[in-house]
Amino acid sequence: MSNAVSALNGKTATGPVTVQELGLTGMVTLRGDFEDEGFAAAVTQLTGLQIPDVRQFQTDGVKTVLWMSPDELLVVLPYTEVNAFVTAMNDALAGSHYLVANVSDARAIFSVSGEFATEVLGKNAPVDFEASQFVAGMVRRSRVGQVAAAYWKLDDGSFRVVCFRSVAEYVFGLIATSATAGPVGVY
């Protein structure tokens, strides 16, 4: 869709810690019974990934499935694949009790990376980001400043931060300001 733009259209603040809005990214909310074999099979079939454990995520580098709550997953995938994915999921789960919703445009997604990224995130969320506590593969929903956010950590040590689209500028401003203010020097 040529007209489509993400919340901040890829805005980036570069420095020792780089904050980047990742542009159009596919995101799908999936609610259902994780214990239900049909549901689990549909997820695995359409993503190639298992349903992650509590507060974990699974990824193959292209698609990522994140645990959001006991009955909710977030699937992150290329923006162009979303409509097909939603249709396929609806087909696969037809007749069962579930909900699938395209939320790609409802969210903004950021990458926060660099030497003291953990400290930058730690300035605005009541979360222990210290490396031994917040390990790669983990998801944590919490706040960034005064708004809701979800964090997850990739193998390369960088973080993804997701928030609602309408507050993308606030979130970017807060994280970028925290990055500019420099390291705390504890991690």
């Binding site: 709550s69 929903r141 706040r143």
Partner: protein, 109 residues
């Protein structure tokens, strides 16, 4: 600054990630119930100085409502448990009784 463990996702959530929801285990009164019963459901509260069973939502987290047994005089937390229950579970009751041996919940008193 309370810290409560969400029984659904295991996060030790700080108060700012939670939303308080008042007394737990209220029985909804509705059409057919007396004015007094309805008043009891909507307004009358135990407001205990001591053990208080209460509702919380992990609002900035997994979004789930859960229940907590907490001491309003000391802020001790005896336990948290899922909202889909009509009375406090045995392990929570046990924790409470360790501190208040005579404690019993209003509905099971």
């Amino acid at each position: 600054m309370l810290l409560l463990q969400c029984p659904y996702c295991g996060v030790n959530a700080e108060e700012t990630e939670l939303a308080a929801g008042g007394e737990a285990h209220l029985k909804r009164a509705t059409v057919g119930d007396s004015d007094e019963a309805f008043e009891g459901y909507l307004f009358m509260r135990e407001n205990k100085k001591g053990v208080h069973l209460e509702r919380w939502r992990h609002a900035y987290g997994c979004g789930k409502w859960f229940l907590a047994a907490r001491d309003t005089a000391t802020l001790e937390v005896f336990g948290t448990y899922p909202a889909q229950t009509t009375e406090p579970p045995a392990d929570v009751t046990e924790n409470i009784r360790a501190k208040y041996p005579d404690w019993s919940w209003k509905e099971t008193a």
